[in-house]
Symmetry: C2
Subunit: 461 residues, 2 copies
Amino acid sequence: MINVQDIEYFNTILGEDRVFTKEGINEDFSHDELGGISKKPEVLLEVQNTEEISKIMKYAYEKGIAVVARGSGTGLVGASVPLEGGIMINMSSMNKILEIDEENLTLTVEPGVLLMDIGKFVEEHDLFYPPDPGEKSATIGGNISTNAGGMRAVKYGVTRDYVRGLELVMPNGDILNVGGKVVKNSSGYSIKDLVCGSEGTLAIITKAILKLLPLPKKSISLLVPFPNLELAIGTVPKIIKSKSIPTAIEFMQREVILSAEEFLGKKFPDNSADAYLLLSFDGNSKEDIEKDYEKVAQICLEEKALDVYIVDTDERKEAVWNARGAFLEAVKASTTEMDECDVVVPRNKVAEFIKYTNELQKQFSIRIRSFGHAGDGNLHIYVLKDDLSEEKWNNKLKEIFNCMYQKAMDLDGLVSGEHGIGFAKKNYMFKQYGEEYIALMRNIKTAFDPKNILNPQKVCE
Amino acid sequence: MINVQDIEYFNTILGEDRVFTKEGINEDFSHDELGGISKKPEVLLEVQNTEEISKIMKYAYEKGIAVVARGSGTGLVGASVPLEGGIMINMSSMNKILEIDEENLTLTVEPGVLLMDIGKFVEEHDLFYPPDPGEKSATIGGNISTNAGGMRAVKYGVTRDYVRGLELVMPNGDILNVGGKVVKNSSGYSIKDLVCGSEGTLAIITKAILKLLPLPKKSISLLVPFPNLELAIGTVPKIIKSKSIPTAIEFMQREVILSAEEFLGKKFPDNSADAYLLLSFDGNSKEDIEKDYEKVAQICLEEKALDVYIVDTDERKEAVWNARGAFLEAVKASTTEMDECDVVVPRNKVAEFIKYTNELQKQFSIRIRSFGHAGDGNLHIYVLKDDLSEEKWNNKLKEIFNCMYQKAMDLDGLVSGEHGIGFAKKNYMFKQYGEEYIALMRNIKTAFDPKNILNPQKVCE
């Protein structure tokens, strides 16, 4: 329990205007984007620099107070909910881009910088930060913490692949620099790679050095309608096998497109087919990418695509990708409550998994919507509550989730592709990994945080 | 101390013909490619599968016997030397390529497969395993254990970036599967990324799932002579900044080329200049890469390159890259003994570092040779003993290494880019990282190996 003395100490470090308690704490800080789990911190601290965080952690470590660091709160697994009350550190004011280094192709940022701001900034320098998760208002600290992937993972990989170095505040307040601007590193255990994806349980990220690439000069998208989803998704392994690797391969169904049209009040270029693949290609000249997309278009047509629309004007691109970006919000707006499953399976198992969720939909008489990254095997499957009673909803959801995670396991998939484990997905991960694996994770947690004060009850705890 | 009972137990698991002791153990197994440190194991066990290793580890864990796993023994930091005697597990018979999956673009291999065999095999399938360390007779298990980088890291990254999943035998004999064929993964702490680069101290790698790319259809190299090394290396940041990223940028000096000519008994295409950059470009068509290399050639000429040779015939390519591949052996053959420093610095600091080693050469009156990966900041610097007495050599080497590692630190570099820490570089890493960082690594080691039986005295121990 936080007491008056604690608050006084925080006031001396931060000043009273950056220390919030009780009604002074906005309700937003009690939850992320996942429904059904919320708790307010006892004290909310708005920090501006690494030293402040170090002092807070030293104090919390000594007193054994739980601490959760929070960015934009756009998570979907409850990872930033302060389950034990205690201290919440609001990182969002640490949002400065510190340096762009064009000789080393790196960008150094504070953790509260928003993903959308990074994209804009580096493109002005003709450079490119490839990871492209759908939620652009997430912070980079949050993206690193869940090892977010996004749409371009097919060609470019995930967030971890673009983190070269981190500044960390450890649970005991020590400040550690791991990695750096260097391209190669074989200097001891890779703490950097371990902290990426650790959802704020091992250390607080206070600075990141990101790897950039030259900005591809041209991009083009293909929108490919198919008679049904199975044909659409069944085409993906054939595309991969063709060795013409697109930047992104997304799949979508008519129902989701209709929801997005309604949500945005804008028409999608085509909504006549049952299922679509949306592919993008990038490169440095039109000719470069033409060869690739012509080959892929040909494969789609051989696999019974109804047509292939080339999306090459800015206007069309915006219409298509804006709709894609709005899917999550649109599906959410179409129901009373929803929960999601973010499994990842080998790319050639996507079709089988989606077919299975369609069966579940019928079996449980519930609406299930899905869209996602067909090209990298990461699915986002939404189960919708609609007008179900709370009790029925909870029971059905539990059963459906059990079925889906079991299926993912059977297909050699994993519990989460990019949204993480947080609090909500722990049991599914425990079940898949088994005792020894979880015991090892707990040992690692203890190696960083022997008093278990940093984001307790998350991931493996 | 291994006793008769232990040997009997190993005989029952493996059969007597795969259990070696005393004079039955070839002297090769007492050392790697680093001079000055050697020790024979008490028993050498030749294993054929994961279950055998699991049984050995269970037994060793119970009895507290030290175990070292060894591949080809091509390391340069003593990481595979069994400093405490005990058990050595020879992994080199586990050398089967298990599966190529063209729909998921993955290759599943046993750890004893040689790097050269992987390259050959996947290219027959029109696929590409990008990591390209100089030592092609290293095993993939060894490459993963040091997170080897190689020449193509400039464009393609390092070994860790191409490991999707691992099967591990833990120090207590448990078998763990981490990662998989999946492209994205946010399912708990990334054990896979931590084991990559851990030099056999955390777990024994018994299987690896590697990521492949489509094989680029064309490649071309440029050999660019410069009046001196500073001009050559000073050009590299300008190339990176131009956003035409080559696949590889190597630098070499005349003396090293002459050694290689002598060693190979073959002429290098040009040996008239003091210093060279060797660049390679790859892509899917000649036109694709022409644009890039023309731009880079222009930059080189502006930076006072003496000429630009295009290396596009197979014959020329072989001459140049064979010579590059023989540098290490050629330098080694030119002296009595040598030791090396494998620092990595930010790419725009390479010139400053090399200039400094030239000063050291004069200051200490000793031969220092260097070549390496100018494009990714990873330098290989060889200090040569020549006719120095053992005592003088040891003293000079110590002083020179202290100077070089201090300089790397001052330039925000790290102790090792790709050869690892092993036994030989521990003190330099300890000095750079400081107590808290090393304590954290030791905690991680304990999380995996509470009895400290797996490759003891290495990396952080």
